[in-house]
């Protein structure tokens, strides 16, 4: 059993990654990710881990450096946030196309402008189509566990794709929480050495990231789509393995009091914790409320989502970002498309909440449920609303 400790989550993530026998890290500091960069750098400088820490001049360089290192066969790690992720954007599809199992923490933060350093999901949402596996975590324990499990998923021979672990900035990264830290022995047993699908080595010359014209581009995109879709099974398999070894099982879509629920709320990330408290209060009042947590954003767990929402009459989808001029929040859009062909599906409501770090309290989650329950004529179904906006 691991040791039960209390630690700031960003520091704990760096500690957990330090247990993963990484060969190389290139992390450019940016609030609220910086404590991961700083602590990883400390681990290397103090000689606690045998790892090359590359000090880069930007996030674009950080992602370029981990792509190069991963291509050379190094277990490579980076972390970023907001504008840093936007600067990495053009390289993200290259990492996935080259099938490099890079792991990255994203300390989710609002994208400018206006400049805002606090938490929402507007940084990860524009990366949706980059071909990365995207996982969301709710608390310190999940951040630790899945930062380690990410390497095993990424490096699985049937996956070989980059993985990002989304950790809400400040609301999670800067909290001091109690959790169980796995031991080095346990991580060694869980995480086998990295076996790359190809490496850059003069003894066996290969070309990686070669040019491709229209005669091959479609086939390459199809192969990538199939690879990302196929990774879903491995993600669950690795979660199951983790559950067996550490007693903390994870699912692609998780639920709380959802089995008999008439009205469900869907969250991603740390706000699920507050929503649970709201649901407990609603249950005490006799409202059959429940929670659905989307753990895996890409590949999207279509079947798993359908299975847990099919018996509910109403589903509230919360979004931490907006697709301006589009159908509402990006999660709303995805959930609607997932349920489009179902004959039996809940009415879907969308609240865009917690933008730029705005607090969403228990009473507000209750308010969302009450609003939707009060909509007896179902007039607001399929619409979206900025929760708490001043009119």
């Amino acid at each position: 059993m691991g040791k039960r400790v209390g630690m700031e989550v960003a520091v704990a993530v760096a500690e957990a990654v330090g247990l993963c026998n990484i060969d190389m890290a290139a992390v450019y500091p940016i609030t609220p990710q910086s404590h991961i960069a700083e602590h990883l750098s400390d681990l290397v400088a103090d000689g606690r881990i045998d790892c090359e820490f590359v000090t880069v001049e930007s996030e674009h360089s950080a992602m370029s450096a981990v792509i190069g290192a991963s291509a050379a066969g190094a277990r490579s790690y980076t972390a970023t946030s907001s504008q840093g992720l936007m600067l990495m954007h053009e390289l993200l599809p290259i990492a996935s196309a080259m099938r490099l199992p890079i792991c990255m923490a994203i300390a989710n933060r609002a994208v400018s402008g206006p400049l805002n350093i606090l938490n929402d999901h507007s940084d990860i949402m524009p990366q949706r189509d980059a071909g990365w596996i995207a996982i969301f975590v709710e608390n310190a324990q999940e951040a630790i566990d899945l930062s380690i499990a990410a390497f095993r998923i990424a490096e699985h021979k049937d996956v070989m794709l980059p993985v990002c672990v989304n950790i809400d900035g400040f609301q999670l990264t800067h909290m001091v929480e109690p959790f169980e830290m796995p031991s080095q022995d346990e991580v060694n047993r869980f995480l086998p050495p990295f076996v790359p699908h190809a490496t850059l080595h003069p003894a066996k010359p290969v070309t990686m990231g070669a040019f491709a014209m229209s005669d091959y581009f479609t086939e390459i995109m199809k192969a990538k789509d199939e690879a990302v879709k196929a990774s879903k099974k491995v993600v669950q398999d690795v979660f199951d393995e983790w559950g067996k070894m550490f007693g903390r099982p994870y699912r692609l879509v998780e639920t709380y009091l959802a089995d008999d629920a008439d009205i469900l709320m869907l969250t991603m990330g740390s706000m699920g914790e507050t929503a649970k408290i709201a649901i407990d209060e609603l249950r005490a009042r006799g409202v059959k409320a429940g929670l659905v947590k989307l753990r895996l954003w890409r590949p999207f767990p279509f079947a798993e989502l359908k299975a847990v929402v099919k018996n509910a009459r109403k589903l509230i989808v919360t979004d931490r970002a907006c697709s301006f001029g589009g159908p509402g929040g990006p999660v709303f859009s995805e959930v609607k498309s997932a349920l489009y062909a179902e004959t039996k599906r809940p009415l879907i409501y969308n609240y865009i909440i917690g933008l730029g770090g705005r607090d969403v309290q228990v009473k507000e989650f209750i308010g969302m449920f009450e609003n939707v329950l009060a909509d007896t004529a179902d007039k607001a179904a399929d619409t979206y609303e900025f929760w708490g906006v001043r009119e």
């Binding site: 196309a97 080259m98 099938r99 490099l100 070989m160 699908h197 190809a198 066996k204 010359p205 290969v206 070309t207 990686m208 070669a210 491709a212 014209m213 229209s214 005669d215 091959y216 479609t218 086939e219 390459i220 199809k222 192969a223 199939e226």
Partner: protein, 92 residues
């Protein structure tokens, strides 16, 4: 070169055979091709000099032709040819 299906692509499209680019023909997207009228050609070689792809070649008889594996059909040879010996025709 037979084109592979998506299932046959190596993971990450890694090219494991050194020098295999020599088998890759880059003229596949050409929409026009140059045709020489050797009755007008004075063998000056201006087409050879101006071809940006280096794919105009001189035969043993001194006349010129384009290597269509690499010719992009840009038409610079036809534009520069002062005896008007080169005509661009649509690819079938």
């Amino acid at each position: 070169m037979t084109l592979k299906s998506w299932r046959e692509l190596p993971i990450g499209c890694v090219v494991s055979e050194p020098g295999s680019a020599s088998e890759y023909h880059t003229g596949s997207w050409r929409s026009q091709r140059p045709i020489w009228d050797n009755a007008k050609c004075i063998k000056c070689g201006i087409c050879y000099v101006y071809c940006p792809e280096g794919c105009v070649q001189q035969g043993e008889d001194g006349f010129f032709q384009a290597n269509l594996d690499y010719c992009k059909g840009c038409g610079i040879c036809a534009h520069e040819c002062w005896p008007r010996a080169i005509k661009m025709i649509e690819e079938g």
